[in-house]
């Protein structure tokens, strides 16, 4: 992993994204790109309040004049705002010890412009919610779901508060994306030396398949130098995982983006979405 892409909008969540990005970048020796997209749709939405329906002399020319002045002012303001946000991001990242930071300012809609930047990145980092839904806890930001759906790269979805990453929890279901995640854990230097927990959720405690799956994961993790704590849990995956991470003070949750179902390859798994919604810790989602 050489390039991390941080999507920012200047909200509180973005602040913790910078810290997590810095932590990862230093451990991976990666460079960080910070992307801010000025939303042009919102500029369009704010329009005139003239319902007079009357046409004066040179109606079109007068209107053009008015619209250009209005949009000029607004664009100038949002441009300045973007500069501030990106400067702030750069400062935070540099002060945390990241050596290579690049800021990118674009206009359009984040979801539309995202693919061109995603292609050159290895890991996407973005806040769980943005400025429009900062305090709506229990929900996901409008951009987040669409980006996780559209992205082909692993995504780190950051929480409101930054905590040092000490204990990892791998929610393992044996799916291809889960296996990919496990391989990443073993091969990458980034999480080496941290405490790893592996949890599998099954319908009942005697599920032989689940036990075998868990053992296999444990062995694989051990080859990467981890000494994983494993546990088989019962019940709904989302509640069980939330409970476990709270009990053991987990600081980062790792999981696949979707489960076994073929159809779910098109969307992110409902379990994944539920967990993203309910957890207070950052989640690394692998495709």
């Amino acid at each position: 992993m050489e390039r991390l892409l941080v999507c920012t909008d200047g909200s509180i969540f973005a602040q913790s994204s910078y810290r997590y990005a810095a932590w990862l970048a230093i451990r991976l020796g990666a460079r960080v790109d910070v992307l801010y997209v000025t939303d042009e749709q919102r500029q369009v939405a704010a329009a005139a309040t003239d319902f007079s329906g009357s046409l004066g002399f040179d109606a079109a020319a007068t209107l053009l004049d008015k619209l250009v002045t209005l949009e000029h002012e607004k664009a100038k303001l949002s441009h300045q705002r973007a500069q501030h946000i990106l400067q702030d991001a750069e400062q935070v990242l540099l002060s945390q010890g990241v050596t290579s930071v690049k800021v990118i300012h674009e206009t359009g809609s984040l979801v539309d412009r995202f693919p061109e930047f995603e292609a050159s990145a290895d890991l996407i980092i973005l806040g769980k919610r943005g400025e429009t839904a900062e305090l709506a806890s229990g929900h996901l930001g409008a951009n987040l779901e669409r980006i996780i759906r559209a992205s082909h790269k692993p995504c780190l979805v950051t929480s409101r508060q930054y905590q040092t990453i000490e204990r990892l929890l791998l929610a393992y279901d044996g799916s291809p994306s889960g296996q990919k995640l496990l391989r990443f854990l073993v091969n990458s230097p980034v999480f080496k030396g941290l405490e790893l927990h592996i949890v599998t959720v099954a319908k009942d405690a005697a599920d032989a398949k689940a036990i075998a799956r868990l053992n296999e994961a444990q062995q694989k993790a051990a080859t990467g130098g981890f000494e994983p704590v494993t546990q088989l849990m019962q019940g709904h995956p989302e509640t069980a995982i939330a409970q476990y991470s709270e009990q053991h003070q987990i600081s980062l949750l790792l999981m696949g983006a979707y489960g076994h179902s073929r159809i779910r390859h098109l969307v992110i798994g409902s379990t994944t979405a539920q967990i993203l919604r309910s957890s207070n810790i950052p989640v690394l989602v692998f495709r």
């Binding site: 369009v44 329009a47 005139a48 003239d50 007079s52 329906g53 002399f57 109606a59 209107l63 979801v111």
Partner: protein, 493 residues
């Protein structure tokens, strides 16, 4: 089409779009009625057309936020057709117009709009404004004096009210006030109801009853071609205007197809053919409309208003309608083309004025535009032809002269070019340097032949240098001065 683009075009700002759509729908009522009267058909023909064209173009058009409906430009072209052959022929012509526009769309004629110079565009708009104004004059002649008073009062409300509040459409206030006054005071003036039948139901489907033969096609085709041309010209012109106003792109060829589909459907449901409206589209943008929803809601609301308010609409005095149309004509006219007349190049003003004059005389925008384009082309070629320069240098011994020719050499430039050479001089050698010139056509090559041969006759050797590749190829293909029998060929010219 992908869903993201669809969402963006339909749901950019639904609240603003529906509000703007309402304003436009209210403004469309008087216009649709007025344009039906221009074409000489019942108001319901224009009202049905406006409803259908607005709804269909909102779905199939290429420019979100563009308002299309029954228009003056199209109505003016239909007058004779309606008078001589009747309504079924009008609908059949509308269908043919739609088919032509769809074909134009597939042929990507939208891009050819670049061949219409700005002066002609301005002339088109100005002519349209004048025609809308002139079309109101019959309503103002041989009428009671009260009509003049009412028109003046309506104009006053339309222009003064927006200074106090912009929350209600001032033309609507003018119409409501005048209708109320005329009913309450029992003033006898011509009303909209006197002009013909009104819609009472959703437009019914019907196939125009015309004989399907060559004779019919002969009648319809010229009208359809004119309607298709003028409709597309106004639509694409308005689309470019909206592109500029909203700073967003549009698909002009898709717009052409959308207009075509709309005209076909409108004609099958008893509506006349229409196109985009400059004034209404500006009102839409001004009221905050940006997406397709604004046009769509304008169409739907127009029909709702007419069906619900039909009885009241009939009682609107024509004077109020005339005032609204005068406003539309003032708003459509490009006033800066007159106020800035000193600053605009004279040839462009000439092209603009010719377009206006010919259109107003013929009541046909298509003829005006074609002549405007032809004039602009002539003016332009004349200007380019003037930029031909010839510098000459004589060698110290006085026997070798170099002519350096610069500029675009084509048929218009030739007379001036030939005058620059002196064939009386006694020289041994002549060099023609074309480093800064381009040779465009047969006439240019012919002129060079003439120069070369004339110098040869005076006994000089001629050399051509500095030809660029395209010019050299053309000369190689066409020139005769390298032929041994050059002189005979020259004589046979």
């Amino acid at each position: 089409m992908n869903t993201a683009a669809l969402r963006r075009e339909w749901l950019v700002n639904p609240r603003q779009d529906i509000l703007a759509g309402t304003v436009v729908a209210l403004a469309l009522i008087p216009e649709a009625i007025a344009f039906s009267i221009i074409a000489g058909v019942d108001p319901k023909v224009g009202l049905y057309a406006s409803f259908i064209i607005a709804v269909v173009t909102s779905i199939f058009g290429g420019r979100p936020g563009l308002i299309s409906a029954a228009t003056a430009a199209m109505a003016l072209l239909m007058v004779n057709l309606v008078k001589e052959h009747g309504l079924p022929y009008l609908f059949a012509a509308g269908i043919l117009t739609g088919i032509l526009q769809i074909i134009f769309g597939y042929l990507k004629l939208g891009r050819q709009l670049k061949y219409v110079p700005r002066a002609v565009m301005v002339g088109f708009v100005n002519a349209l404004a004048i025609l809308i104004f002139l079309a109101q004059l019959p309503q103002l002649t041989n009428v009671p004096v009260t009509v003049y008073g009412m028109t003046a009062a309506a104009l006053a409300i339309i222009y003064i009210l927006p200074r106090f509040t912009k929350l209600v459409p001032s033309p609507l206030v003018a119409i409501v006030t005048l209708t109320a006054i005329s009913i309450l005071a029992g003033i006898k003036v011509p009303t909209v109801g006197d002009m013909g039948a009104f819609p009472t139901t959703f437009p019914p489907f019907s196939i125009p009853q015309v004989p399907l033969n060559l004779e019919t096609l002969k009648i319809l085709f010229p009208y359809a071609v004119m309607l298709a041309m003028v409709g597309l010209l106004e639509s694409l012109l308005t689309a470019s205007l909206l592109d500029e106003l909203t700073n967003t792109p549009s698909d002009k060829n898709q717009e052409a197809k959308g207009q075509g589909i709309a005209n076909i459907i409108s004609s099958f449901f008893g509506g006349m053919a229409g196109c985009a409206m400059i004034g209404q589209s500006v009102i839409n943008i001004k009221s905050g409309g940006r997406g397709r929803l604004s046009t769509f809601s304008a169409g739907i609301l127009l029909l709702v208003f007419i069906l619900v308010l039909g009885d009241w609409v009939r009682r609107i005095p024509m004077a109020a309608l005339v005032a609204v149309m005068i406003m539309v004509s003032i708003g459509t006219f490009n006033w800066s083309s007159i106020t800035q007349i000193r600053r605009i190049p004279r040839s462009e003003t000439a092209a603009m004025l010719s377009t206006v004059l010919i259109t107003v005389m013929t009541h046909n925008l298509a003829i005006g535009v074609v002549i405007g384009i032809a004039l602009s082309t002539v003016f332009f070629s004349r200007k380019v032809a003037k930029l031909v320069f010839v510098d000459t240098v004589l060698s110290p011994d006085g026997l070798h002269r170099t002519y350096s020719i610069a500029g675009q050499i084509f048929f218009v430039a030739i007379d001036d070019l030939l005058e620059k050479f002196n064939f009386q001089e006694e020289l041994e050698k002549v060099t023609l340097d074309f480093s800064h010139a381009h040779i465009w056509d047969q006439a240019a090559v012919g002129a060079i032949d003439q120069i070369v041969l004339k110098f040869r006759r005076t006994g000089a050797d001629v050399e051509l240098v500095g030809l660029n590749e395209a010019s050299a190829t053309l000369i190689e293909k066409l020139a005769i001065h390298n032929d041994p029998d050059a002189l005979e060929k020259m004589a046979s010219h």
